[in-house]
Symmetry: none
Subunit: 243 residues, 4 copies
């Protein structure tokens, strides 16, 4: 392998040396990627414990009507989340174009975050928190770090899973009209999802589950109507039965 | 390998002899451990058949209101259990520091024991049998042999799994208020568990199942309320239909 | 939800309309992403059939000494591959920052490509085709579309899997020295990989398999040496039997 | 639940309060156990990287005769390991009787440690490192923290797995007598293991694998003998064939 001409110039590296040099580079790069992953994981675990606190507050809506105080307590955590996503965005900002390389590391937690934000928003307004507004609440409106649409949609499905239980408890507590409102919302949401051409994947499976939420809420609304418990004049339902 | 100088001193053992001697020791120790396991297994199988007797008695609460006689019959077995755990403690007492070595051999049966004790206690008092009280009932308050907290908590989860069926049957039998009482108990229990930072293991999985128990009991309570069957007259329920 | 004051201003959209509008956007974006995936899949399937052609040519090295003609035939496909990767790069170039979003769609095929390129290079030179050189051969040296290091390393592991069979067949054909050369190469490669701190994932699993390749080649080299078949006359081998 | 006599004494805690208090205790205990596990895991990961360094050195015995220098390099890490096990013992020493509770957390790494120690010892002396000597090397001779016998035996099985490859490479390098020595050692070891009454578990499965190591070494010894390659006068084997 030494220079054929026997000149004084340095011999080229042997294959073994060249191999080792190559793998030194790989080692450095794999370690850099491992360190980055560690940093991401640290922030994500903080996001996760923040959502646990928010969820514990929001769970109380199953025991009573959602009071402004209860919502305020959960909402106070949104800025904490925003700070964490800001940290994530900074970390990823050092590695342009690698958002989707590490996306799997915060995906599931972000879906939970969306489910909480959309539930809170629905409790306050009765409508769906839009994708843009969710992004803004989390400060995810940069060009490099945004809220993946599929994650947003999975989060909305998770939020839908919470609604049947909410309706059952609210009706139990005497808020009969709640079933009508939730049914309207879920019916529209389900119809909107049906427009999407979903591939055969996780999102599709989650959406398939929404059908059961809708069915359960329909049954509660049926119970309320058949017993003439709906409070307001809009509903004419039970007349046929009672007449 | 014999002494090079041909002296009178005994030759050191050959590697083969030394190996055999070693393995004789291992054989003795593995057999001792095997015998110990056999003894534990024998007692545990008796614990298991005692819990089967208790469970058979307790199952009758699904068919009628829990009478004192029914509970007495199950309670009479507690002292049998205490005797068995005493035997276990004695066996393990001969092997200090090895409680957790063999723990897996009585773990699952002890979780069942806890589920039965806590169910009986709840039927009598409406509250959760505390860990210390469960230990005392089983005579497990020595320093060497106690009731592992995770086993206690898994047992409590198993007890929770029994409650939806109990509520359904009690309401069927006309005890409408039962659903409210169980719902209160389970809601508190679920909230208390949520405070724990559970690792992603068996206990966490069991706790995740408690959510379904809670949901089911909420639905029974909902049925009772919406039909105006709760005793306190709050609701007006089915009058439209029945009138 | 319409303006309460009945003014002339346009009514804000109802929640249902707003929901539909949102989902129209999602629909468009999911379809765009689906179309992109289709385009990628089309190119990848062409890469896949090109590698099948190359592999069919290279397989012939197991039947005879690798002739220049045989290698030329496989090498002639490299430019075809380069063209395909160029197409992929163009498609992805329209969607900056999304390389890793769709990476899974060409990953496995690219690992196969690397295994073929490194095998050809080894047959010609006896050394490992470096990452940079592999990139250059495929025209993957742009800033946006490059050869992922882990894919390169997995491809190298696949190439290693081919070597035991190659050695067996070459020795059978009388090229006894081949086992020594492959053993040297694989020993160095295995040692270099051991320096990497691999996470417990796909690459690690593939690397673990390299140990068996090494062991198998060692056994072939052993057979050659013990029979005195190696060219350099060191060994005296089978004389007792043959004499 | 308030005092029946209506006295001024403080009311007993409500069931909910009492439940919360209980779970506060559980939370603290689970967290303590979680923290302990973290500390153990930290030390164990250091043990693991030390064994990786040792293994990298020892692997070189496959490429050449084991020189004293090569063994010295690996042996220099034993004191590092001893220090780590000392840390483990200190951590567990704070929690008497809980060795086996956390045993699973260092089990697998300790089996690897034993495989390395016994391999080094065999390379130096040709005999099996005894259990007591292994304990002493690791400073594991305290009453509370010792080397579990089953872990020791599994480690010995792992060491046996390394021997066929070693024999193949040594014979290739011309050390024909190596096969006889390893065969003697493995035959004795296998016979000793056969004396043990192993339950149907992990250790039994590992021991079952030793049969293949023995078979492989027998085949190498056969190759050496049948070709008359064994160097010393002891072996009379081939006479029947050659005569």
């Amino acid at each position: 392998m030494a220079g054929v001409d026997g000149s004084l110039s340095a011999a080229p590296p042997s294959p073994t040396q060249s191999l080792e040099k190559q793998f030194d580079v790989f080692k450095a790069q794999l370690e850099e990627s491992g360190t980055l992953r560690e940093r991401i994981r640290h922030v994500v675990s903080e996001i996760e414990s923040t959502t646990r606190v928010m969820y514990a507050s929001l769970l109380l809506v199953h025991q009573s009507r959602p009071t402004p105080e209860l919502l305020e307590k959960a909402k106070s955590q949104i800025d904490v989340l925003k700070g964490k996503y800001n940290q994530l965005a900074e970390i990823l900002g050092e590695h342009p174009g690698q958002y989707y390389r590490y996306h799997g590391d915060w995906r599931s937690e972000t879906q939970t975050v969306v489910s909480l934000l959309t539930l809170m928003h629905w409790l306050e307004t009765g409508s769906l928190l839009e994708h843009n507004d969710a992004q803004e609440k989390l400060g995810l409106n940069g060009p490099e770090f945004s809220l993946d649409i599929e994650d947003y949609l999975v989060g909305v499905c998770f939020m839908s899973n919470e609604l049947p239980r909410y309706v059952v408890n609210q009706v139990t507590a005497g808020d009969y009209d709640c079933s009508r409102k939730v049914l309207k919302f879920l019916t529209d949401l389900h119809a909107a999802f049906r427009m999407l051409n979903l591939r055969n994947d996780f999102l599709r499976k989650k959406f398939d589950g929404m059908k059961y939420d809708l069915r359960k809420v329909e049954e509660v609304y049926y119970d309320v109507k058949i017993r003439g418990l709906s409070s307001n004049g809009e509903s004419v339902g039970d007349q046929g039965i009672e007449g």
